[in-house]
Amino acid sequence: MSLLSVHELTAFYGDFQALFGVTLDVEPGEVVAIIGANGAGKSTFLRSVVGLCASAAKAALFDGRPIGGRPTHEIVTLGIALVPEGRRIFPSLTVEENLLIGGHRARPGPWSLARVYDLFPMLYERRAMSGPALSGGQQQMLAIGRALMANPRLLLLDEVSLGLAPIVVNDVYTRLSTIVGEGTTTLFVEQDVGRALSVCHRVYCFQEGRIALAGSPRDLTRAQIAAAYFGV
């Protein structure tokens, strides 16, 4: 059974329809990428999964249970963690408090404060600093660590490379591969197509609120992806 099964999901911002019947599955242990141009609905899709955008009750199943339309704080407690676009570190909290609040409703599992510090030693060194005092890359690692603290069964990542220097992006992805290597099921949105394809088992390409292409990176050609990405 799929860990996450989304069927004909639609999403609206007021009168504007952002998603038109998206169907997508994530199997346990899989690493799945969502690529697509700006405004294709990638972030909206992740936000819908965790209930920050309204969706129909049967539109999303998590581990077989309908989660559509349920409040966000209930959905994430079932074992979904989202690293939001723009990181959204809590400015009033220290680095360590940001991690601790990530584990506020933690499930039992491998991740603890000590293990997150093992993965991101620079966070340990800066644990008493306030969140905004960190650099962009460090804040991104903090946001990832905060999500891991919940011991999620499904990790959602929204544009983790956005606004970061390439060398920092490499660093972030090296650590992500450690996380993924432990079998954490991951669904991530990435604008950098090459990087997305190099990490994922399967990829979905969004275009104007619909899935234009889906498959394993091995089976897809550059031309197919370019066509799905740009809609030409």
Binding site: V50, L52, P71, T72, H73, V76, T77, A81, L82, P84, R88, F90, P91, S92, L93, E97, L100, I101, G102, H104, R105, S130, P132, R146, A150
Partner: protein, 290 residues
Amino acid sequence: MDWMNAVIQGVLLGGLYALFAAGLSLVFGIMRVVNLAHGDFIILAAFLSVVVVGVTGLGPFLSLVIVVPLMGGLGYAVQRGLLARTLDRGVLPPLLVTFGLSVIIQNLLLQIFSADDRRLDAGGISTASIGIAGQLAIGWFPVVVFLAGVLAIAGLQILFTRTALGRAFRATADDQETVRLMGIDNRHTYGLAVAIAFGIVALAGVCLGIRTTFSPDIGPGRLLVAFETVVIGGLGSLWGTLMGGVILGIAHTIGAKLDPAYRELTGHLVFLLVLLARPQGLFAKPVRET
């Protein structure tokens, strides 16, 4: 010696003012809402204590065991049922709704309890005093109220900085959406914050009722005291709120010493001076750019 006495009384009075202000400060700090009915809720708590004392025969201090949870529950209900509906609609709706609450509470109290002055009788402790050198004597009750104020502020400080709930409060104040991603129900968190604020309001109301007479219409005056206390101390600083209460308390007792009619006036002048010299308050933390 008389002046020394006035200062000491002022400091002790500051504890009561800190109790008045703590709830206001808490609600503003977390939700950015100024509760214009804050003073009326203080008076409501005092009347609740009158009822509890009348029905159960407990003393006013023991009535807190019932009044504090009742007010806390009321706070949670007011937040979830009423204030929550106004929060995302700008600054004006919460002000109007709490102003309306103020009018409703005053008139309800007037209807039920009449305009007569009331007082909570705590027995001997309200008049007992400790003699210090010479003519200086400190009343036991003001000392107890001062300690209650210090403990309330210290308790809030510990709650905010050391506990998971306090962390959730601060994170909710920072970012209501992201906090939900942490599995925290932001509406429940707000409800709990107001419940705690109202618990302190209950304590403040009972202390006020033991200290002085009260009637249904004096709530807005207590709101003003609470408001000046918070602003003098600095928004967002709990210890600042205690210091603001002490400064305002000293201003009131010194003013009253000059002439009983100057009591409030001196307080307002000190408040205005602080606003002129340091509008962010004396003990405010530096504002962080985000």
